[in-house]
Amino acid sequence: MISAIRRVLAATVLALGVTHALAAEVQVAVAANFTAPMHKIAAEFERDTGHKARLAFGATGKFYAQIRNGAPFEVFLAADDTTPLKLEQEGATVAGSRFTYAIGKLVLWSAQPGVVDDKGEVLRRGAFAHLAVASPKTAPYGVAAMEVLRRLGVAEALAAKLVTGENIAQTHQFVASGNAELGFVALSQVWADGRLAGGSAWLVPAELHAPLRQDAVILAAGRDKPAARALAEYLRGAKAAAIIKSYGYGQ
């Protein structure tokens, strides 16, 4: 009996050891706007390579501070192209590993149908109590949203109606719960299977704000980790590209 248990234990340890050798884990910091596609990509990545991606979602600015202070992330999918560049210049990344994985699209969205028109005129009318944006201090989508308001010349008029989400996910939550009638969110958050998942929206023309180029980079902690390199490769592959596109991102 005891020898049988020992044999099972030995086999289990062996099996775990074997999977461990083949399949590693990679710690990934992911910009909040990329949450939904990244869940899908990580599942495919695990199926195809055996590596497991452990995902943390949040504001790009917060991740920057955490990475600079020793957070153990190995791959960073930012919501902009400046933060990964900054990390690279500070020597916190693997040189030459930076690339653009998606181009984000900003959308003015309301959970209610008929609130947002397809020209964004609702902003000029201003007949609402709260407009949600992501924090321009820490979230690139917040910077883009403020740029759009300035270009439209309504930034001053709407300043008192702005409510700020800590990141784009919280901003979406303010609008989805109806507490803010409308807000600037990422298209990926309200887009599924090639169409708007609900409510009403205005896809902000790209010329109204600087392009939301979203860059990824392998961080210093991922230097000798095959799984980190594999994930970076996978993000550039055809399968990931199809998923990224299906959420309304450009590439």
């Binding site: 504001a59 600015g61 917060k62 920057y64 501070a65 109590a129 709260h130 949600a132 924090s135 201090k137 820490t138 702005l162 409510v163 700020t164 989400g165 800590e166 919280q170 939550q173 303010f174 719960s177 109806g178 507490n179 803010a180």
Partner: protein
């Protein structure tokens, strides 16, 4: 150094804590009195509800408040029907959140103070033909004064230290819902560590001083 936004956050935080503490003393006193005196089967349930904010993560409180006070929630529909608009992203909304969040810090010290008085002084008051209200104001309040001081100080200090609930229902609006804790979080996220230090060190000093005074008073037996 601190800038105008930091000072506005400090002012707002103190206002929020003061309003919350005042409301909590008014609401908390009868609740604590009832909890201290009752033999009702509901005592356990009411006591548990009062203590909930001690154990619930602020995210749970913030999430449910956002839904309850939102346009589809019962509280939100009530405030809209009353012409008050919606509470999230407003100072009033923060007050509602803070009152719930700091409830146990006011009710529990009051309840303990009321329980410590015991039956005897009340019986004596009754034999002197004092009415219920007279007894409360002439006998209970003076005897429970240390409990009121503790309750007010803890309610105030705990509201000053609030973060998660405010972050979830506040919307980070300057001079309306951006309290000190949120302002510190913003500074840290934006790598403005010098300003974060000013406010953070201020919070540490304030909190220490408040608790030091509170506990010194208890040890020294000063009333």
């Amino acid at each position: 150094m601190m800038d105008a936004a930091d000072l506005a956050a400090i002012r707002l935080t103190l206002e929020l804590a003061a309003v919350t503490t005042a409301i909590l003393l008014v609401i908390g006193t009868p609740v604590a009195w009832w909890l201290a005196r009752t033999r009702s089967v509901l005592k356990g349930a009411v006591g548990a509800v009062v203590a909930l904010p001690l154990v619930l993560p602020p995210t749970v409180i913030g999430f449910y408040l956002l839904l309850l006070m939102g346009p589809h929630g019962p509280v939100g529909q009530l405030t809209q029907a009353l012409g008050l608009g919606l509470l999230p992203f407003s100072f009033a909304g923060l007050v509602v959140g803070s009152v719930f969040y700091s409830l146990p810090f006011v009710v529990q010290p009051l309840q303990q103070a009321f329980e410590a008085i015991g039956e005897r002084p009340l019986e004596v008051a009754a034999t002197l033909r004092a009415g219920a209200l007279d007894t409360f104001f002439s006998v209970v309040l003076p005897l429970a004064r240390p409990g009121f001081v503790t309750a007010a100080v803890l309610g105030f200090a705990h509201t000053v230290g609030e973060f998660g609930v405010v972050l979830m229902i506040g919307g980070n609006i300057p001079e309306k819902t951006r309290v000190v804790s949120v302002q510190i979080y913003d500074h840290v996220e934006a790598l403005e560590y010098a300003q974060a230090h000013w406010l953070s060190a201020g919070m540490v000093a304030f909190s220490f001083l408040v608790l030091f005074l509170l506990y010194s008073r208890k040890r020294g037996g000063m009333r």
